[in-house]
């Protein structure tokens, strides 16, 4: 039968074939119990978590949990309203204040998810006749933001400064320009040369948006991200971030120094036409963000974990996404989807959870096993993880 679902047939077939061999479904894992930021019971097995983006391990922080419980008691389970109607509580203001302080910026706007933050800001800021110049490896939320707006969309090759500059220079005189970059690219865990790219963008009269979802909390002296680390945060017009990684809950935000920034609250549709975050979420987020301001030791330990795992996997003969650890994401490149899925399952049976990433989410049609480290992983756990990779890699025939 042919109907609107026929276009999904190739994907349905791919999945059916994969699962027919007894493969556990990589996209249907259930965590029955979560013990800590680094351990859970998955599909019935005690498992070390190495694919959660829970970089700073804030999900079980006692102060964070207490703040959430208190907010449930004081403000109830949800706001049942938009930020511009009945959905702005004291906690929403408080978390925006915490963000302004964290980034040292004048304005902060909180969205219900990180996805909506990109969707909303990009589609609203760049309108008809404007140009968006963006890295080809940008996250889906950035692409969807471009698609939702009416601007002309001009991609350039990943991290290629010259390709970006050429495109900026070809934009017709007088058109508005927005350059969209990410601090850390989440598929390979590589970082952007923001210092040079932002200089080029500014020289060509563009505004700059940087998504720092995967760097907040631990890259840069104050954990403000890659732009801070490279000394160019003051040049960034919009920083996009999320609460669902280092902050340890859910939600998204944009911080900015633009004097007219607040008007976005009235014109940004993904901000207006959705319910605001529940009080418990914004209270956990602001408590977590304030603790992340003083997390220097945790940052140092997370870097140590990332470097040790990168070196360890490399020494065992795995092919990795970057030459050295550039972030807390270590991407292990698989020969193909079948081997990648087999390796993913072998690791799960060893007691290790990582992310299986496949095209079209990945660059260059790669299949990746993506590991994201946590500041709460112990040095011993990291060694255990390397041993699990070695055994699974040999069993599957990758090393």
């Amino acid at each position: 039968m042919t109907d609107l679902f026929s276009k999904f047939d190739p994907l349905i077939e791919l999945r059916t074939n994969l699962l027919a061999h007894g493969q556990e479904d990589p996209f249907n894992l259930v965590m029955e119990r979560v013990i800590s930021p680094t351990e859970a019971v998955c599909n019935g097995r005690p498992t070390i978590l190495l694919g959660t983006y829970n970089y700073m391990g804030m999900t079980f922080d006692p102060d964070v949990i207490e703040a959430g419980k208190q907010a449930l008691d004081d403000f109830g389970s949800g706001t049942t309203g938009s930020r511009v109607l009945n959905g702005t509580y004291a906690g929403h203001r408080a978390v925006e204040d915490a963000l302004k302080e964290f980034y040292g910026m004048d304005h902060a706007m909180v969205f219900s998810t990180g996805y909506q933050a990109n969707l909303g800001i990009i589609s609203t800021v760049a309108g008809k006749g404007d140009y968006i110049v963006l890295d080809i490896d940008s996250h889906a939320s950035i692409w969807d933001g471009c698609k939702m707006g009416d601007a002309e969309v001009v991609p350039f090759k990943h991290n290629d400064i010259e390709a970006m500059e050429k495109r900026l220079k070809r934009i017709p005189e007088g058109a508005g320009k927005l350059v969209v970059l990410e601090g850390v690219y989440s598929m390979l865990g590589d970082i952007a040369p923001l210092k040079e790219m932002i200089r080029v963008a500014k020289d060509n009269g563009a505004m700059v948006l940087v998504d720092e979802a995967h760097s907040m909390g631990f890259i840069g002296p104050n954990g403000r991200g890659v732009a801070e680390d490279q000394g160019v945060l003051d040049q960034v017009d919009f920083v996009i971030g999320t609460f669902s990684k280092s902050v340890g809950t859910v939600g998204g935000f944009c911080v900015s120094n633009h004097p007219k920034f607040e008007i976005l609250r009235l014109v940004c549709r993904p901000y207006v036409f959705t319910a605001s975050l529940p009080p418990s979420v914004v209270h956990t987020a602001s408590t977590s963000i304030r603790k992340l301001m003083h997390a220097g030791n945790k940052r140092a330990h997370l870097w140590e974990n990332s470097r040790v795992l990168h070196q360890g996997l490399r020494d065992k003969g795995f092919q990795l996404g970057t030459e050295k650890a550039e972030s807390a994401i270590i991407a292990v490149i698989m020969p193909d989807l079948e081997k990648g899925a087999a390796m993913w399952e072998a690791l799960l049976k060893e007691g290790l959870y990582v992310n299986l990433a496949r095209p079209p989410a990945t660059p260059a049609n790669m299949t990746l096993l993506r590991c994201s480290l946590c500041a709460e992983h112990t040095a011993e756990q990291v060694q255990t993880i390397i041993g699990m990779f070695e055994r699974a890699g040999k069993a599957v025939g990758i090393i």
């Binding site: 140009y131 002309e152 001009v154 991609p155 050429k166 495109r167 070809r170």
Partner: protein, 79 residues
């Protein structure tokens, strides 16, 4: 640059991307006949943009399905 001269230049640029040596006419489609995947499209578009010093935005690319439409678009974009 007129259509003939533009077409000749594009014919030279597309050659290394036409890995299967498909015979190209104005009616050839990039996705179907030439089997260009998204990565090939990006590299090919970049090569065209650099040669003619133009921008072919994603919005414009969405309207270009055939080789002939590409030539027409490049002629137009050169102004």
């Amino acid at each position: 640059m007129d259509r003939a001269a533009t077409a000749e230049k594009i014919a030279g640029i597309i050659e290394p991307f036409n890995k299967k040596g498909v015979e190209i006419t104005d009616a050839s489609t990039f996705a179907g006949d030439l089997e260009f995947d998204s990565l090939t499209v990006m590299d090919f578009v970049a090569a065209i943009e650099d040669e003619f010093d133009i921008i072919i935005s994603m919005n414009q690319q969405a309207e270009i399905e055939t080789y002939g439409q590409l030539i027409d678009a490049v002629v137009k974009l050169q102004g």
